[in-house]
């Protein structure tokens, strides 16, 4: 594609540049992290924790708001944001150890306003050892445990080096907890038990409302799976997930507008979604039209004081 003469001339252009660079860098060998690297890891950890807090806030508010639609798939929703160093993305674990300590315990980094943990005085820095007599070894144990009828749960925690017990209200909600995974892809999925969000989606959507809509959508898939007993795919499954999702987000206090249909943004961005012959995410335009109608339906129910209940006369949710 290029002649040798061309290459050597190009090389002259480059050689003056990389001589300067080599002088600047010295010998490139792997070595102890520099201050610059450490600062970058701190920023990366900050960002990961912010995203974790955003995702868990949206997730737990929606799980509580959707409780009556989840049937038997419910669990305590305490309103805590947790971290556990081994569950951090691999590249952030050293920074996590520097910030939180070397142990792999489950630590509270935040509490949701008005939720049981906050009301019981739980706070950032507490370590959770057990919930309701069950030992806790990972964050999913706390985000979704077994549902009981008891009005209160006993939490065994470590605070300031001392083990103590805190009693929290046993507030129940959908058991479909959210998990954040470290991938730049703009995507999320439901697997019948939980919902999984890729970091890239939170990066691209930024605001709570479009993320809440996707959260509701994915929980909507899990609701369909566990109610109808089969994978809720295809045009109808996606339409139902959109519909339920809008209701769940609105019930949880996220006021949606047409622009929040972030899934549509992704249709804009990735023409692949439009051409995909598979039934996973079918043609965009119809879904946005349907979303607008759903918003209008919800608005009219708010106006008339009706409960925000998705119309289930056709039967899929019962």
């Amino acid at each position: 594609m290029m002649s040798k003469a061309c290459r050597s001339r190009l090389c002259r252009v480059l050689s003056s540049t990389f001589i300067a660079t080599s002088l600047a860098l010295g010998c490139a060998q792997p070595s102890a992290p520099t201050d610059e690297e450490l600062a970058l890891y701190e920023k990366g950890l900050d960002r990961w924790l912010e995203r974790t807090a955003q995702l868990q806030t949206i997730s737990q508010r929606i799980r509580v708001a959707g409780k009556d639609l989840c049937g038997a798939e419910i669990s305590p929703v305490l309103g805590v944001v947790l971290i556990r160093v081994p569950e951090l993305p691999r590249s952030l674990r050293e920074a996590g150890k520097r910030r939180f300590g070397p142990e792999d315990s489950v630590r509270v980094i935040g509490v949701l306003e008005g939720f049981p943990a906050q009301r019981a005085g739980l706070r950032a820095g507490d370590e959770i050892l057990g919930v309701d007599g069950n030992r806790v070894v990972s964050t999913p144990h706390v985000y979704g445990g077994d549902a009981t009828a008891a009005p209160k749960l006993a939490l065994r925690i470590v605070r300031g080096g001392e083990t103590t017990e805190v009693s929290v209200e046993n507030r129940l909600g959908c058991s479909y907890a959210a998990q954040l995974v470290d991938s730049e892809e703009i995507n999320a999925y439901a697997d019948g038990t939980r919902v999984v969000f890729f970091n890239g989606l939170l990066r691209a959507f930024v605001r709570d409302e479009p993320i809440a809509l996707v959260m509701g959508h994915e929980i909507g898939h899990n609701i369909q799976t566990n109610t109808t007993g089969q994978r809720s795919g295809g045009v109808v499954g996606e339409a139902r997930a959109d519909y339920i999702g809008a209701y769940l987000a609105e019930r949880a206090g996220y006021r949606l507008t047409r622009g929040d249909f972030g899934l549509a943004e992704i249709e804009f961005a990735s023409p692949r979604r439009l051409v995909a012959k598979a039934t996973t995410h079918p043609t965009g335009p119809a879904r946005v039209l349907a979303f607008q109608r759903t918003l209008a339906e919800i608005a009219s129910k708010r106006e008339s004081g009706e409960a925000l209940m998705p119309n289930v006369a056709a039967g899929p949710l019962r």
Partner: protein, 329 residues
């Protein structure tokens, strides 16, 4: 036919109460889809696809044309446009076949259609517009982009006669095309964050369109990959390709008129999104989210040390300071 009729009627009469019925009835939702294809929303989707491609073309054209000096002899003539045919959007760098969406977005007919003209370019000055069809170059008919590029290369560094057709009428234009850095840059449309390259061509994913807050940032990200391609063509092995691409990329972006003073903050922001890029790595490139797979990850072996962004930041800052200082003189 009956289902279509019911669907259209229901859509016409549909007050809010119908919404759930509409959504839950598969027959009606199929009709909805058919009706929606011609809706204004459908054209919004396609417009955004065109905009993203145009933005990538405009920014990369500025880089390769105004930064051409840094590419030495490695230059090719560039018409400063986006062109397309009914075959030119098939699988690209392992991505999908975008031909269907391109056919809709641009209403492609037979022949080479002008999809976008970069505002400052030579052909823009001759009033060539999106929608025109490129019929002849240098007195010969051209039907594919490969034929066009060969013809333009043969006729480089001299005035070239073009014939465009617009609404059935022929327009003759004579123009000498500038020689620009010979590195094609394309919008790949996938969801990855970082621009990437395969040794010859640079790809810009949706994630970067979304993450680059300004044309300066987009220019910096594209210039880095153009620099990688140039470095790859050097006849001697380069000891530190990443650091070299950092420096050459910044010099290229600055030469092309982009403001690189925000480059350190930009790379820091991207590094905080992808902390696996921060450390050096050797032996295996760690958990690189695949640009080609949706949601997939792959590990690929690398024989040499890959210097992570963490250790490259001081040199990046130094290069930026050098550039800013010299632009003040």
């Amino acid at each position: 036919m009956r289902a279509l009729g019911v669907g259209t009627l229901a859509a016409a009469l549909c007050a809010t109460a119908c919404a759930s019925q509409l959504l839950l009835d598969p027959q009606l939702s199929t009709a909805d889809v058919a009706a929606a294809r011609t809706s204004t929303f459908g054209s919004e989707v396609l417009a955004r696809f065109r905009e993203n491609r145009a933005r990538v073309r405009r920014v990369s054209y500025q880089l390769v044309s105004r930064g051409a000096r840094l590419c030495g002899d490695f230059r090719l003539p560039d018409a400063g446009m986006l062109l397309g045919t009914k075959d030119s959007f098939r699988s690209f760098l392992g991505g999908s076949d975008l031909q269907d969406i391109a056919n809709q977005a641009y209403e492609l007919e037979d022949g080479i259609t002008v999809l976008y003209v970069v505002p400052d370019s030579v052909l823009a000055a001759h009033d060539v517009r999106a929608g025109d069809v490129l019929a002849e170059v240098g007195g010969q008919k051209v039907a594919t982009l490969e034929e066009l590029n060969e013809r333009l290369f043969e006729l480089r560094e001299q005035p070239v006669p073009f014939v465009f057709t617009r609404g059935g009428r022929a327009m003759a234009v004579e123009a000498q095309l500038p020689l620009v850095c010979g590195v094609p840059v394309n919008y790949s449309g996938d969801f990855g964050l970082m621009t990437f390259q395969d040794g010859n061509t640079v790809a810009v994913p949706y994630g970067m369109i979304d993450a680059a807050a300004s044309d300066d940032e987009l220019g910096i990200a594209i210039a880095h990959q153009i620099a990688h391609v140039l470095v790859g063509f050097a006849s001697e092995p380069v000891p530190d390709p990443e650091a070299t691409a950092d420096r050459v990329g910044l010099l290229l972006a600055a030469e092309a008129g982009f403001d690189v003073s925000g480059a350190p903050a930009f790379w820091e922001r991207l590094a905080s999104e992808d902390p696996w890029r921060i450390p050096d790595s050797k032996g295996f490139q760690t958990e690189r989210p695949s640009a080609f797979l949706e949601g997939g990850r792959n590990l690929y072996p690398t024989l040499q040390l890959h210097v992570g962004i963490g250790r490259r930041m001081p040199a990046i800052r130094a290069t930026v300071q050098e550039i800013v200082a010299s632009s003040r003189r």
